[in-house]
Amino acid sequence: MSLANKYPKEVKQILSKYPPEHKRSAVMPLLYLAQREEGYVTKTAMQDIAKMLEITETDVAAIVGFYTLYHDEKAGKYRMQVCTDLPCALRGADQFIESLCGNLGIKVGETTEDGLITVEGVMCLAGCDKAPMFQVQGPDGIKYHENMTVDKTMELIAALKKTAGEAK
């Protein structure tokens, strides 16, 4: 099903933000919409967006490839993106991500066996004063979690697991 059929209200609202002759601007919000369900942008979705905006599929793919928050491959349902950049690293971010991964039994970049969590190390998230911190990119968008400890994070993961279980 095309995006316009699946999310008619959202698509209309997105397109209304930009001058009609520059509807190409809508490519970024439409990609977020396309990513909502599967956590990544499928080839069909790219074709769909290209058609809607009268650009080529290659033009759309070039956008997906450029920005780090778009994905063209499936990963965990929740991407736990831990900032390990300089200011956070000065406040223990490297140790945090390492022990978090240790607890989960995965390496950075890997996904837990149940397919729920992928842990990624990312660049600065503008939460430097509240390190260690990370964001969770999931079906409902992106949410920040700041002043975190490994214990608090494991609680969060348990809660996410519960929600995912209930959803099933």
Binding site: K43, M46, T56, T58, D59, V60, A61, A62, F66
Partner: protein
């Protein structure tokens, strides 16, 4: 004229128009500032940082605005940072240092950065020998790498972007010339960058990959060996190649080409064409070629070439001498008297066609042009006028494209018309279906097949569209045969000619009528006085037929049947065709790569082509064969010197008056400057040193009285109720004799297809991609269904030369 600006580059003063970029100004006085991302045909981007130069600007007094003087000349203040010559526009008094220690250091730095990622595989790289990066490295590069080789980023080296173009990801220097060419010039944004930073790489997501008919040009302007054509890849080293000027014979645009040849063991030590390259002619194809022109040349070298004259004995073709074969043909032609018919195609040169036409005039015969499209007597009457150049058209000019899908029929015209529209020309596209050019048009008129004449006539009735046309300073109409046969295209041509004539848009530069013909020299045939015939079968049946450069038996079962009933058939061709199966005499002709001659383009430009490879077997040039036949018929025609034929032609055909081979070989300075030592500037396109050709005068310009035939009401039949009307359309890559032998293009040629409106398909219960049976006119065959919701429900489009013989609109059954 725009304002002129004077600046100094490396101590040399130069005066150039305002707005010129420093890098181009330097080029004009012979100073080559090294570049990679800059290309004079593309918008400046300043990405590669190769063209770093030192810039000084004259100091101005804050109060008076005058230059501050020092020792009698303006005091120059140099900028602390180097700047890119490719993004800086000239200014009065600007001082540019391209070779100073600081500039050189900057350029060397950029070169070193590029080399950290570039592989050292020049010895096996196709670009080696004509590679800007290699040349600049040899000249200025460091002798030793400071980057640890083990840390080089290794990437895929054989990535097909499509089946025509391969990408070597290690060699790519991310200059984006190819991507920018595709989006800015070709308008097919089908390649792009994926990822970012050092991981940036070129990708194509189109289906098929790199879906553009201009893809080959990217390999010319690629400044490294990242993009290579599947055709030339690992084919030869550039320094082994000879270069011969030629003209593309695939369509009426007449692109100037260079044939690169080499003696080759694989070909038994023969000299063969290794690749076709563009040759600069800013008035025709600039520095571009379409992929059909670049890759379809293989037919001339095909195994199916005719090498010896043959005559049919006891039902079998048997080798014969030239004397015997031509004599047999001549005797039969003489015997036929009024029943002698010449059927010649626009694949032939002007000289060939002239001799054929003269032969028909000196015997009792008739000469027909083998074409599905008519109206050429009118293009010859009303122009376009001498000096017409799409490259100079912009605001003030209206270009009308009617019944033609230029992207498929004449790609370089598509590209030139698109660019003229982008420069401000008023583009009116009239077609029965959506075409790629619509996007660039000021007005798009969608009509139903059959309404072509009415639509053209409406341009003289009051409307916003007609206003834009009538008030335009200049007007050019390109008409084609989308959905039309001989009579339909004749009707459209007369409507267009009348409109132009009434509007005084004839006989002047950038005014007049252009036919989008099926073949390269159809216009030449019209100039010689050839005619087309709607019912060819009728005029062939029972006659003594001299078929030159055409394969009617393969094209159309109706014609095959007519020829079976012919009295006598002589076939003169380059290759074995289906028609020779019924021939009494077969005469082998030389391919255009093996001989000299001239062609007349759709813009009525006469251009010379030159021999590039040795003659195959005993083949002779067409004009010479005709002359030999003529001699046996007691008609004297020049048969030895092609330039002498041209001289006689120029004396007899008015529009050619005053022309000769020397004039056609003249060149004038062109911009941008290409093809010299600095391959990094314009790419590997060839400089034109062999002639830019001459445009013919139109009868209108010579002050002759013009008589435009009466315009019909309707161009072609419209679909009747409960009937599907098949209409012929043209596809770039078809199964024609000059395309099919190029194996590389087979995927693009694809299967025979029938295009339906989605509603029509629904009604018939067929789906896109499904194979159906199509039958009309006693012809029947399989075709794959394609859908197009811009056509009317009652029509079915059948591509020409794709296995279903369609000459004009006809009722069809699809099952």
């Amino acid at each position: 004229m725009s304002k002129q600006v004077t600046l100094t580059i490396d101590g040399k003063q130069v005066t150039v128009p305002e707005g010129t970029l420093v890098v181009d100004a330097a080029k004009m006085i012979g100073i080559d500032i090294p570049v990679f991302c800059h290309h004079p045909k593309l918008e400046p981007v300043g990405m590669c940082r190769m063209c770093l130069v030192e810039l000084g600007r004259p100091m101005r007094d804050r109060n008076t605005g005058q230059f501050v003087m020092e020792n009698g000349s303006p005091k120059i203040q140099f900028m602390p940072k180097l700047e890119t010559a490719c993004t800086t526009k000239v200014e009065d008094g600007l001082v540019v240092l391209t070779q100073s220690a600081k500039a050189t250091e900057g350029q060397k730095g950029t070169l070193e950065f590029l080399l950290t990622s570039h592989p050292l595989d020049c010895p096996i790289c196709d670009k080696g020998g004509e590679c800007p990066l290699q040349n600049l490295t040899m000249a200025h590069g460091p002798g030793k790498s400071r980057f640890i080789y083990d840390e080089k980023k290794h990437r895929d080296k054989m990535v097909p972007l499509g089946e025509l173009i391969y990408l070597d990801r290690e060699r790519c220097i991310q200059c984006a010339r190819c991507i920018r060419f595709q989006s800015e010039i070709a308008g097919d944004s089908v390649i792009g960058f994926d990822e970012r930073g050092r991981s940036t790489q070129i990708v194509s997501f189109s289906d098929p990959g790199f879906d553009s008919v201009f893809s080959g040009n990217t390999s010319d302007i690629c400044p490294v060996g990242a993009l290579t054509t599947a055709d030339f890849r690992f084919g030869a080293r550039p320094w082994e190649l000879e270069a011969q000027a030629s003209i593309c014979t695939q369509c009426p645009v007449g692109c100037n080409t260079t044939l690169n040849t080499r003696r080759e063991a694989k070909a038994g030590g023969k000299i063969v064409v290794k690749r076709v390259m563009p040759r600069q002619n800013e008035e025709v194809n600039e520095i571009w070629l379409c992929d059909k022109g670049r890759f379809a040349y293989h037919y001339a070298e095909g195994k199916a070439r005719l090498t010896k004259p043959q005559v049919r004995k006891d039902g079998k073709l048997t080798r014969a001498s030239w004397e015997a074969a031509t004599k047999l043909a001549a005797e039969n032609f003489l015997k036929a008297k009024k029943n002698f018919v010449i059927l010649a195609s626009g694949r032939l040169s002007n000289e060939d066609l002239f001799n054929l036409k003269t032969l028909s005039e000196h015997s009792e015969g008739k000469a027909y042009l083998y074409s599905h499209m008519a109206g050429g007597e009118l293009t010859s009457l009303v122009g376009v006028g001498e000096g017409t150049n799409f490259g100079k058209m912009g605001a003030g000019t209206t270009i009308v494209v009617v019944a033609s899908n230029l992207y498929e029929e004449a790609p370089i015209w598509y590209l030139r018309v698109k660019q003229a529209a982008e420069r401000g020309a008023n583009l009116i596209v009239m077609n029965a279906r959506e075409t790629k050019l619509d996007k660039y048009a000021s007005f798009v008129v969608r009509y139903a097949y059959g309404d072509e004449v009415k639509t053209v006539n409406d341009l003289s009735k009051k409307s916003k569209i007609s206003d834009s046309f009538l008030k335009s300073e200049n007007a050019v109409i390109l008409y084609g045969s989308d959905g039309l046969g001989v009579s339909g295209s004749a009707a459209v041509a007369s409507a267009c000619a009348k409109l132009l004539h009434d509007n005084d848009s004839v006989g002047k530069p950038n005014n007049g009528l252009i036919g989008v013909w099926g073949r390269a020299n159809d216009q030449g045939a019209w100039e010689m006085g050839f005619e087309v015939e709607e019912d060819l079968a009728k005029v062939l049946k029972g006659k003594a037929v001299y078929i030159v450069g055409a394969d009617p038996v393969a094209d159309d079962p109706k014609l095959a049947k007519a020829l079976e009933g012919a009295e006598f058939v002589a076939v003169q061709d380059v290759m074995e065709t289906a028609t020779i199966e019924i021939a009494n005499v077969v005469l082998p002709a030389q391919a255009f790569t093996e001989r000299e001659g001239t062609l007349t383009s759709g813009e009525r430009r006469v251009q010379r082509f030159y021999p590039a490879v040795p003659v195959t077997g005993d083949a002779k040039a067409d004009f010479a064969i005709t002359s030999q036949i003529a001699r046996h018929m007691a008609v004297v025609l020049e048969g030895t010197s092609v330039s002498a034929v041209f001289d006689i032609l120029a004396e007899s055909v008015k529009s050619f008056e005053g022309l000769n081979y020397d004039k056609l070989a003249e060149v004038k300075p062109q911009w941008p400057i290409v093809g010299r030592g600095d391959l990094y500037y314009g790419g590997t396109t060839y400089e034109n040193a062999q002639g830019m050709g001459v445009q013919l005068s139109a009868a209108a310009a010579r002050g002759e009285k013009l008589s435009i035939p009466r315009v019909q009401k309707e161009a072609a039949p419209r679909p009747k109720e409960n009937e599907l009307l098949a209409v012929p359309v043209t596809k770039l890559y078809d199964r024609g004799t000059t395309v099919r032998p190029a194996e590389l293009l087979h995927e693009r040629i694809g299967d025979a297809s029938v295009v339906l409106h989605p509603d029509a398909a629904k009604e018939l219960g067929v789906e896109a991609g499904q194979t159906v049976n199509v039958s009309f006119n006693g012809v029947s065959g399989e075709a794959v269904v394609k859908l197009d919701d811009t056509i009317s429900v009652g029509v079915a489009l059948i591509p020409r030369s794709m296995g279903l013989a369609i000459r004009e609109p006809v009722a069809v059954k699809v099952k």
